[in-house]
């Protein structure tokens, strides 16, 4: 080979490398994940240096960005996933780990490390849900089993449950606390999706009614509200029946009024919501401290690991958004809300793109459920609505909640991957084999 041709070959190879580098830099997944990894690396590093050097912090500074990388860029190599949805869910999960770890310092707790462990379990739950949506095709018989299992799980707390924060919705199995209503969320979506897509009214109606009744008996009003709104919105999405949906809304409002008249604790919550400062010393203390924490954070926050978040009762579950606002500032809090909004928009987009109504309803339901839950808790923390005891999706401390939220993301991801399969099929039949040779190589 002559010198000239070798030089030309080398130049061509250099140009190809430069082009590939440019492509890689343009990849939105890499750009987003690299910013997330940098955020968590610097944040955990900072926390690790607070007071005495903590090796756990250094370990998390390495492990959390690695988990984000694996869960967002590496796992989708095995199935066509929606990377944006994965990235946002992972970001929010890691934010929970960060905030809990920062509040652990000086409190002698290890919620941050536990949450990191739950995060890992959540990723497994998400993978399981993706597999369920992608590979299970014979739902007809299975749905009856799911329905019976979910009903049994729902009534379990009434029989062997323990009361926490006024609601009897926890069970303890082998020393581990579990909230069955969180697990049943996934089953509810499967049941609603299946029967609504088959236009069979009674099965899903009876199951949803039964679930709501049991939740009311358990006094778990927050979860009951999530179930009710999700069911109602899915009914409207699947049938477009406005009169019946309006009737459902009126019925819900009527039930709220009856609940207000009947239950003393509902009355109390509404009174606290209207003016928490009257009850500052007693039941209004939590919401008052929440508002003070957000105000003390100001626009830019007091700084990571600083402030007094532990003054707020149950700061690690219900009021974690106030802790975020206190440490990082209100602008940061608004941006976190923006991430939730993008997640919801993305979920809706995936549901709209689905060609099978079972998948569409399921994805829409998971999105609505996450959106409603976020609205209920953040609205409660910001005193827009009465505060009810639900967790902030992905961020709040709690294994069951995190695993169930990741399961919901798994359902949406499963639908997204089926959509991608359908699209690939369309594309395949629209292109000849010769054209396929020209396709660039992807790194999904």
């Amino acid at each position: 080979m002559s010198k000239r041709s070798r030089r030309a070959e080398m130049q061509a190879a250099r140009r190809a490398r430069a082009r590939a580098d440019r492509e890689r830099r343009r990849d939105p997944a890499r750009a987003l994940v690299s910013a997330m990894m940098l955020f968590y690396f610097s944040a955990f590093l900072l926390i690790a240096l607070q007071g005495e050097i903590q090796w756990q912090g250094f370990a998390l500074a390495a492990a959390v960005p690695m988990m984000i990388y694996i869960a967002t860029l590496w796992l989708p190599r095995f199935f066509p996933a929606d990377k944006l949805l994965l990235a946002i869910a992972n970001f929010l999960c890691a934010l929970g780990v960060l905030v809990l770890y920062s509040t652990d310092r000086g409190a002698g707790t290890s919620r941050g490390m536990q949450q990191a462990m739950y995060y890992g379990i959540g990723i497994i739950a998400m993978l399981v849900c993706i597999m369920i949506v992608r590979y299970i095709r014979r739902w007809k018989f299975l749905m009856k089993v799911v329905m019976m299992g979910a009903a049994a799980l729902m009534v379990l707390p009434l029989a062997i449950g323990t009361e926490q924060n006024g609601a009897t919705n926890w069970i303890v199995i082998g020393g581990t606390s579990l909230q069955p209503s969180e697990v049943v969320k996934i089953a509810l979506l499967l049941i609603l999706g299946w029967y609504m897509s088959r236009h069979q009214f009674w099965p899903w109606f009876l199951f949803a009614g039964f679930s709501l009744l049991v939740l009311m008996l358990q006094k778990d009003l927050g979860t009951a509200l999530i179930y009710y709104i999700t069911t109602l919105l899915l009914f409207y999405a699947s049938t477009g029946n406005l009169p019946l949906t309006g009737l459902g809304v009126i019925g819900g409002c009527g039930a709220a009024v009856v609940g207000y008249k009947m239950f003393a604790h509902v009355k109390k919550r509404v009174a606290i919501w209207r003016n928490p400062w009257i009850y500052y010393e007693t039941s209004g203390y939590q919401i008052a401290q929440t508002l003070m924490a957000i105000a003390s954070g100001g626009l830019f926050g007091v700084g990571l690991g600083l402030g007094a978040p532990r003054v707020i009762p149950v700061y690690f579950t219900d009021c974690i958004f106030a802790v975020i606002c206190e440490q990082f500032g209100v602008i940061f809090g608004i941006l976190v809300l923006a991430m939730y909004v993008i997640l919801i928009l993305r979920g809706t987009f995936i549901a709209q793109s689905s060609r099978h109504s079972f998948h569409a309803i399921m994805a829409m339901g998971a999105t609505v459920m996450l959106g409603v839950q976020t609205f209920i808790i953040i609205g409660g923390v910001l005193k827009m609505i009465p505060l009810t005891g639900v967790t902030m999706p992905f961020v709040s401390y709690g294994g069951t909640s995190l695993v169930s939220c990741m399961g919901l993301i798994g359902l949406i991801q499963g639908v997204a991957s089926v959509n991608q399969d359908d699209l690939t099929y369309d594309y395949e039949i629209s292109r000849s084999l010769q054209e396929e040779m020209l396709l660039p190589e992807a790194d999904r």
Binding site: P28, A29, L32, A35, M36, F39, S42, A43, L46, Q50, G51, R77, F79, P80, L84, A87, F91, R137, S197, H199, F300, V302, G303, L304, G305, L306, F328, G329, I331, F332, L335, V336, A338, M339, I342, R346, F349, R355, H356, S357, D421, D422, L423, T424, Y425, D426, E428, I429, S430, S432, L433, Q434, E436, M437, L439, P440, E441, A442, D443, R444
Partner: protein
């Protein structure tokens, strides 16, 4: 780190975290918007995406003309209201009359809402345990409307359409009578003549071209070639040109990493032109007396999907399955490839 120094560092780091958070939110939003735009473009590239076939209106109503074609998605509802996937405004059709779902290998399942009447190829709907399935060419009767299903390539069901009892097959579906030995001999003779004329014409053209080339070599003309006038510059590219210039983002259609490129068959010799195919013309009364001729006007009629529907001209709903892109065999091959690649060869 001492508390005072940590406090300073943490307060300084607030802005760094805020900047990174803003960057993350901005990039997420931009990614989301980009994907929305790409989805719209993709829909333009794949106009048939999500549809399994078409319903041809054989008999409609006031709001639905005869000959109209309604695209059929995988799942949906049919009724008189506009919110339905298939809006059939005819007498006797309820607002939400029936719903349908495409079942792989079985056809389009049809089930009415409530007690609405539905008839497929002469069979009435009786119960959910015995659902009605429509295949390629099946007729659907709802109210006073009559629709016929024409499925796209790759979606045809295998013989699920039930025939209406007592109704004979239409002339279009009858097999044309085969020509006898004498007709075949005449046809073959005509083919040979055609072939010889074609060879002779090619030879003549070659000789003529050779003579012209020789004449040009002997007396070269100065500057015979003129630069073509530059065309108007427009922003219109073909898809391949746009892709070559990097204007099209094809990332959604990329091959998964690690997957080998498909092997193309290697041809030692350049591919020959496909052999001409001749079909006997349609039989009519005076066929034997007429000279056999290729009917170019009727070539591929109804196969290219751009037939004009006007007046009483109703497209033949029983024509072979079609797609905007490919034929049946290629669609089947593509389906197999997708199954093997993403579903481990399993049936969906």
């Amino acid at each position: 780190m001492p508390d005072e120094i940590y406090e300073l560092v943490a307060q300084g780091a607030r802005y760094w975290f805020l900047f990174l958070m803003a960057l993350i939110a901005w990039r997420s939003w931009r990614w989301y918007r980009r994907d929305r735009r790409q989805a719209k473009k993709r829909l333009k590239l794949l106009p048939d995406a999500g549809f399994v076939g078409e319903m041809v209106v054989l008999q409609g109503g006031k709001g639905l003309e005869r000959g109209a074609v309604l695209p059929v998605p995988c799942e949906g509802t049919l009724g008189a209201a506009r919110t339905n996937d298939l809006c059939v405004q005819a007498a006797g059709v309820e607002k939400r009359h029936l719903w349908f779902r495409y079942d792989e290998g079985r056809g389009l399942m049809v089930e009415p809402f409530g007690k609405n009447a539905v008839n497929v190829d002469g069979a009435d709907f009786e119960s959910r345990r015995d659902p009605l399935y429509m295949g390629h060419g099946s007729r659907l009767y709802v109210g006073e409307a009559e629709l016929r299903l024409r499925m796209f390539a790759g979606f045809e069901a295998e013989g699920t359409a039930q025939r209406r009892s007592g109704v004979e097959d239409e002339p279009a579906q009858q097999q044309p009578p085969q020509p006898d030995a004498q007709q075949m001999a005449a046809y073959q003779q005509w083919m040979q003549q055609q072939w010889m004329m074609q060879q002779y014409a090619q030879q003549q053209a070659y000789q003529q071209g050779y003579q012209q080339a020789m004449a040009q070599q002997q007396s070269p003309q100065p500057e015979l070639y003129e630069e073509p006038a530059p065309e108007d510059e427009t922003d219109v590219y073909t898809y391949e040109e746009a892709r070559a210039q990097g204007l099209v983002d094809d990332r959604a259609f990329m091959r998964p990493a690690g997957e080998k490129k498909p092997e193309l068959p290697v041809y030692e010799q350049p591919l020959a032109e496909p052999a001409p195919q001749f079909y006997p013309p349609e039989m009519d009364a005076g066929w034997a007396d007429e000279e056999y001729a290729w009917d170019e006007e009727n070539e591929d009629e109804g196969m290219n999907g751009d037939e004009v529907m006007n007046g009483d001209e109703v497209p033949d709903a029983a024509e072979p399955p079609r797609s905007a892109y490919v034929g049946h065999d290629e669609a089947e091959r593509a389906k197999r490839r997708v199954w093997d690649r993403y579903l481990g060869g399993g049936a969906r």
